[in-house]
Symmetry: C2
Subunit: 170 residues, 2 copies
């Protein structure tokens, strides 16, 4: 499979993808961490994904349809990625049935996580969302600035800071 | 494949799944339409999915993990479904590679739609979201009460009504 993949390094604070570019690759994180976000018309960032080792990152719509990306994908630490282009990955699905299974499960889990996140945003308090995140992904929070984690969890940095302080004091 | 599937009818306003039950089946809509929603602590409904013919519906977390469902799935019209249990679907993946591909693409598309919906909620106006929905799924809106569509699109029924009136007058 390796001939189909290429290695890419992105320096800290460098961008893997920016809006308007076409995101030609699915990228697997070997080392480092990245975040994807969109910028709304008021220039506010909204973090969609916090990715660490063994996650896949892309602007998925752009990757699938060849349309201009909507997301920024920024390396929060200096990162190393393995990248595959869509035609190559489609060819690999045909050659390696286990890979088709792997991506079926990957997309199933991504879909599950995303729908759970929507449900949590509607039904849990900010504090409950933070506690749940820390249980499910204990190692992730420490690698991202507080403001990125707050945005991902749908709260302000001040709210996150107060929640953390409250939990420490209990 | 058919021996693995069973047919189920749900009367109009009947429930396929309710919170606390285990959602044992993935259900394919042959006829009718359904919506899934959650109820928040303030007893407000939030519509997550509007499903018509050829859509799959389930409380996906409950189906995958055997945990109690969080969603209501209600038949908005009298509906006919084909249901498959998880162990049977897993067995079918092994016997029918085309099915594994079908579900990889299905979950890929569900993930894409859901992430696009989050991005749209953050970056488009209510009016833009409505116009986009009507372009992408022109036949769906007419089958659901206005309040369900409004909730799905993340706006109040009054806002939706004003948008529709404004578009008609243009």
């Amino acid at each position: 499979m390796l001939p189909y993949f290429r290695q890419r390094r992105v320096a800290k604070r460098g961008y893997l993808v920016r809006p308007g570019e076409v995101c030609r690759y699915e990228s697997f994180v070997i080392k480092g961490c990245l975040r994807s976000f969109i910028m709304d018309e008021g220039e506010h960032e909204h973090v969609l994904q916090l990715a660490v080792e063994e996650a896949w990152v892309s602007d998925f719509n752009s990757y699938l349809n060849g349309t201009p990306a909507q997301f920024y994908i920024e390396a929060v630490e200096s990162s190393v990625l393995l990248q595959v282009e869509r035609p190559d990955l489609e060819a690999l699905y045909r050659q390696v049935p286990a890979l088709e299974r792997y991506f079926r499960l990957l997309h199933q889990n991504l879909y599950l996580k995303l729908s759970q996140r929507i449900v949590d945003n509607l039904s849990l308090s900010a504090r409950e969302r933070y506690v749940k995140f820390m249980q499910q992904a204990p190692g992730v929070a420490a690698r991202f600035p507080q403001k990125h984690l707050a945005s991902y969890l749908g709260m302000t940095p001040v709210a996150l800071s107060l929640i953390r302080k409250g939990l420490k004091e209990e």
